[in-house]
Structure formats: structure tokens, C-alpha cells
């Protein structure tokens, strides 16, 4: 069982590097929303690669400081992504306020850098889930782009709020090690679904254009 999730974990990391490449293929041909989403995928891939490198170079040191780059870059790019889709100015405003709040958090308690930040992660994820809900509502009556990705964002971010919020359990010695590892396994499974949905979006809506471009 443990091995299975190790393999799945590896798959998510390889995938997170591979699918940005697919998205990059159509980068110049598609609109701003697509470009922002591609940048988001690249940012996440970079975080994933650093996590993996960290594991090889410093196998015994905690890699939690990378977590802040993960959720902050996710918040910045997905906020812009939803701003493009929804065209509400206040998304940018709220995004700025949230980043300010997180910045203040890290200035006041610098050692936050070396553990999970449940409040920051929860706020950003809840906001993104809220945007995706708005986008669902918007797409009720007409065909909209990135609807599969929206399903993925909604599903993964909402489900994983609890996982990241309880992430600091890993630092608690009194909690048996299998609990955080169970959470991690669930997270990996959910993340894999999210990645598959991102891949499906590309395959269904953008593959044609990109392949045609290559045939030319």
C-alpha cells in the first residue's frame, strides 16, 4: 500500500512537469487566460522540482519552507486566471489584500517559514474555491472555456483545505507518523485527479489546435 502511494506520488511529480510542456506548445496561439494558466502550471512544476531536489540534496531537512512558494504562487496565478475569466476588478483588490496579510504574517513570525501556514493556505484556497464557484454560475447558461480545469480547481482546492489546514500535525511528535502520511496519501490521490482533469482540458479543447499547428 505504501509503495503504491509512493509510485502515485512520483507520478504526480512527473506529470506536473510534463503537462506544462503540453500547455506551452499552444502558448502563442491562445488567449491571455490560457497564458496565465500555463504560467501557473510552470510555477507549480518549479515548486515540485525543488521539492524533489531538496529531498535528494538534503534528505533529512524539512522542506516545508517550499510550501509558501506553492500556495502563494498558486494564489497569485489562479487569482489572475479567474480575474481574466470573470472580469471582476475586486478579485485583484482582494488578491492584493490577502498577499499583504500573508506578508505581514511572515514578517511578524518569521519561523512560520519552516512550518505549514494553515491560516494563509486556508484563506487563499477558500477564495479560489469561491471564484471557481462564481465561474460555475457564470457558465451555467453558455459554453465557457476552462470549465474542466474549473471542476478540478474546485474539487481539489476544496477537498485539500482540510489536509493543508491540518498539515502541522507532521511536526507534532505525539501524533503517530501514520496520520500525516495518511493525509499525504489522500492528498496525492486528489492531486492526481486534479492533474488528470487539467490534462483532459488540454486534450479536449486545445490539443486539436496545437496538433494542427505541428502538422503545418
Amino acid at each position: 500500500m505504501k509503495e503504491l502511494f509512493d509510485i502515485l506520488g512520483d507520478i504526480t511529480i512527473y506529470l506536473s512537469v510534463i503537462y506544462p510542456l503540453f500547455y506551452i506548445l499552444g502558448f502563442s496561439k491562445n488567449n491571455k487566460t490560457y497564458k496565465i494558466f500555463t504560467l501557473y502550471l510552470i510555477a507549480i512544476a518549479l515548486v515540485q522540482i525543488s521539492l524533489r531536489l531538496h529531498k535528494y540534496v538534503y534528505p533529512n531537512e524539512p522542506n516545508l519552507y517550499l510550501f509558501v512558494y506553492y500556495f502563494v504562487s498558486q494564489f497569485i496565478f489562479l487569482s489572475l486566471f479567474y480575474y481574466e475569466l470573470l472580469q471582476h476588478k475586486w478579485i485583484l483588490f482582494i488578491g492584493g489584500l490577502t498577499l499583504l496579510f500573508i506578508g505581514v504574517q511572515y514578517i511578524i513570525t518569521p519561523d512560520m517559514y519552516f512550518r505549514y501556514n494553515p491560516i494563509g493556505a486556508t484563506i487563499t484556497q477558500v477564495l479560489l474555491v469561491f471564484y471557481s464557484l462564481l465561474y460555475f454560475y457564470r457558465s451555467l447558461s453558455e459554453k465557457k472555456e476552462f470549465i474542466i480545469v474549473n471542476v478540478g480547481v474546485f474539487f481539489y482546492l476544496l477537498s485539500s483545505i482540510l489536509i493543508f489546514a491540518s498539515g502541522n500535525l507532521v511536526l507534532d511528535d505525539t501524533i503517530p507518523i501514520y496520520i500525516p502520511s495518511l493525509l499525504q496519501d489522500i492528498n496525492i490521490s486528489l492531486y492526481l485527479i486534479f492533474q488528470l482533469l487539467i490534462m483532459l482540458e488540454w486534450w479536449k479543447n486545445y490539443a486539436d489546435r496545437t496538433i494542427i499547428k505541428f502538422k503545418k
Binding site: 460555475f136 451555467l140 447558461s141 474539487f155 476544496l158 482540510l162 496520520i179
Partner: protein, 262 residues
């Protein structure tokens, strides 16, 4: 006893399970609502297309009827009489013809050509009365009322406090055609003795009221309402973005009101 750690795990796993289920349910909810909304919109669109098809069809039928009528008019009033003229003119070319005969034939030709002229003027007038072009809707309606009154078929009361230029000319023409059609129907089908027409303008609204005391019809039997004349009126009212209400019962005359916002 269940250890506290196991309880924590249990709670977390259950909470996670609930959240995952909820998010799946919300996604499914949106997916199915979307499907339903799109389906109803499609139905609406196809209904609209169906309606447009009906409008086009009745327009085409009206057009054909109109052509038939014009062809008939041209044939009856002009071609056949021109035949007589040409026959008479042929007589004139014959060598052994007395000057008296020439005179008679000439007079005949003159009288026939003047009837033809009169008929062609009438045909043209029926197609589009010059009064409408020159003096506008109000004058054209007055003329129409006079003409219908002259038939002595019924008494006609026209009240036309219409502010000239209230509607653009192309819309005025629709109003004129509607009245023409109403009168046509009255002449052909109604057996009425009194017709009453009011066309008035108030601020931003034109209201047209028509009333007769003829045999009326049952508005529920669609065949009559959907007859060529009535569908022509309905279509024109639709083009003018107006509202049409018909009140009629068999034996009880027709009362019809059209309201058009500017």
C-alpha cells in the same frame, strides 16, 4: 476503548470524505443544471425558428395571392381590352374603309383606351395609393375611408387624430396595410352594416381601434385567425413591435385594438 489518536484519524477522514462528497455533489449539481438550462434554451430557440418559418410561409402565400390578383387584374382590365383596341386598329389599316367607319372605330378606340387608362391607374392605386406617398398616412386613411364608404355597403365612421410623422414612413405603410386588410376582410366576410375606425396618437403610443357589427368569428378557432388576412395583420403588428388584441364572438362583430409604442 478507542484511542484518541484513532478518533482524530476517524474525524479527519470522515470530514475529508464529507468535503470530497460535497464538492462532487456541487459539481454534479452545476453540471446537471447547465444541461437543463441549455436544453430549455435550445427548445426556446427552435420554437422561435418554427415561428419565423410560419411567418415566412404566410408571407410567401400572401405574396403569391397578391401576384395572382395583380395578374388577374392586368388580364381582365388591360390585356383583354387592349386586344379589342388592337383588333379595331387592324380594321383601320384596311384599305376599303369608309371615313364614317374610321370615325366610329376611332371613337371606340378612344373610349376603350380611356377605360384602360382608368383601370391601370386604379391597379396602381390599389398597389400603393399615391396619396400615401404625397400626403402621408392620415390623408391616405381618409381616402381609404371615403372609398370604402362609397361602396355603400356599410356606414363608415373614421376618426383619425393621427399626428403626421409620428411613425417613420415604412412603419406608417404597415399601419396603412393593416387598415386596408381590415377593410378588405370586412367587405369580403363580415356582412357588417357599420364600421368604425379610430387611429390616434398619445405621447409615445399609437392606438388603432377597429370595430364592426358583422357576423364576427370565434377567435379560438385558429383557422380564421390564421387565415391569410389575419396572419398578415399579426405579422405586421409583430414587425411594429406592437400588441394586438382581438375581441370577437360569432354574431357579435369584431373589435380589434392595436397599440404601437414609438
Amino acid at each position: 476503548m478507542v484511542s484518541s489518536e484513532e478518533q482524530i484519524v476517524g474525524i479527519i477522514v470522515i470530514a475529508l470524505g464529507i468535503v470530497i462528497l460535497m464538492s462532487a455533489a456541487i459539481i454534479a449539481f452545476f453540471y446537471f443544471s447547465r444541461k437543463k438550462i441549455i436544453k430549455t434554451e435550445l427548445e426556446k430557440a427552435s420554437m422561435e425558428i418554427e415561428h419565423q418559418k410560419e411567418v415566412i410561409q404566410s408571407t410567401l402565400i400572401t405574396q403569391e395571392e397578391e401576384r395572382k390578383r395583380i395578374a388577374q387584374d392586368l388580364h381582365d382590365a388591360i390585356s383583354s381590352k387592349l386586344n379589342v383596341v388592337s383588333l379595331n386598329a387592324n380594321f383601320l389599316t384596311e384599305a376599303d374603309i369608309s371615313s364614317q367607319d374610321t370615325n366610329t372605330i376611332g371613337k371606340q378606340i378612344l373610349s376603350i383606351t380611356s377605360t384602360i387608362l382608368e383601370s391601370s391607374r386604379k391597379i396602381a392605386h390599389d398597389l400603393l395609393p399615391p396619396t400615401f406617398e404625397k400626403f402621408g398616412l392620415k390623408a391616405a386613411l381618409e381616402e381609404l375611408c371615403d372609398e370604402v364608404g362609397e361602396t355603400k355597403k356599410f356606414q363608415i365612421r373614421c376618426d383619425l387624430p393621427y399626428a403626421e410623422g409620428f411613425l417613420p414612413p415604412e412603419k406608417e405603410l404597415h399601419v396603412f396595410r393593416i387598415v386596408q386588410e381590415l377593410f378588405n376582410n370586412a367587405i369580403k366576410h363580415s356582412e357588417a352594416t357599420v364600421l368604425q375606425l379610430t387611429v390616434k396618437t398619445e405621447q409615445n403610443r399609437l392606438s388603432l381601434q377597429y370595430k364592426d357589427d358583422g357576423k364576427g368569428f370565434d377567435p379560438d378557432t385558429k383557422t380564421l385567425v390564421k387565415g391569410i388576412g389575419m396572419s398578415g395583420i399579426t405579422n405586421r403588428v409583430a414587425i411594429l413591435n406592437g400588441t394586438l388584441s382581438v375581441d370577437s364572438r360569432p354574431g357579435d362583430g369584431v373589435q380589434l385594438t392595436i397599440k404601437i409604442e414609438r
